[in-house]
């Protein structure tokens, strides 16, 4: 039944956005994580989405027009870490600099908002499909 495909596609969107949120939260919590001098500091991560084809049931999918989504890979932001002069810090190098992760909390918050909105939009789509399926059942009531 094609409404089930709509729900399935919406669910793939929910999963993907939740995964993205997890990654973003991991960036936020590690915004101030330092490591001993010489070690690679934490680098911010982001997800890369890719469209997928849903499972075909009774030819329900419209060729390739209806596509779900998945997290294709998690990419690491290779920009330079933030360098701060804190000679008394335990993780300072010999010149007194500490490497902080390349995470901008403000930027991450904006991304978190964007993920939340996208999640809500997918939820709306799932709910709408559910309501429609319910309406179908009501025809003969």
């Amino acid at each position: 039944m094609s409404l089930m495909t709509a729900i399935e596609v919406g669910a793939s969107g929910l999963t993907a956005q939740r995964r993205r949120l997890e990654v973003l939260v991991s960036n936020l919590v590690n915004a101030n994580t330092t490591k001993p001098a010489g070690a690679e500091p934490y680098r911010r991560k982001d997800v890369l989405f890719a469209a997928t084809n849903p499972e075909r049931t009774f030819g329900a999918a419209l060729d390739d027009a209806v596509q779900g989504v998945e997290v294709a890979k998690i990419v690491t932001d290779q920009s330079e870490p933030r360098k701060e002069y804190e000679p008394n810090h335990e993780h300072a190098d010999k010149d007194g600099y500490v490497l902080y992760p390349n995470v901008e909390p403000m930027e991450e918050m904006v991304n978190v908002l964007s993920a939340t909105r996208s999640y809500e939009a997918n939820l709306q789509a799932v709910n709408a499909a559910k309501e429609m399926a319910k309406k179908t059942l009501e025809i003969l009531r």
């Binding site: 409404l3 469209a51 030819g59 060729d63 596509q67 789509a125 709408a128 025809i139 003969l140």
Partner: protein
Amino acid sequence: MKLDLFHDQTLDAMSAYLGRLSQRQQVVASNLANIDTPGYKTRDVSFHATMQELMSESSPGLRTTRSGHDRGWSPVPSQAQAFEVHGIPARADRNNVDLDREMVKLSETSFGYAMITQLMRAKFQTLAASIHEGRSQ
């Protein structure tokens, strides 16, 4: 008045429309799921072309050999062609899904679906009424 339960043109048209609406719902769900997918382009299914085809006098019905034959209802293609929507500005990642547009489509689809199912219900209630009235005599 002739009442043919199984070849009711109104019911056929309504179920064809419901089919289209659920396809539209799938496409909107797909657009929303891929709102952050780089390179994804907004898609839609055509409504007007299908309905015009369905409603036109020239649509191919059954071939009749006698005047008493019912011309029948033209078969409705069960799948509409989906197409990419042009004219929506793309973002830097070449994705052009517009959240507002999709939400409007979502409401339209749900509303249309609710309306048609309500009408179908009314149709069947009419039939049920005639069945029950007949029995009570």
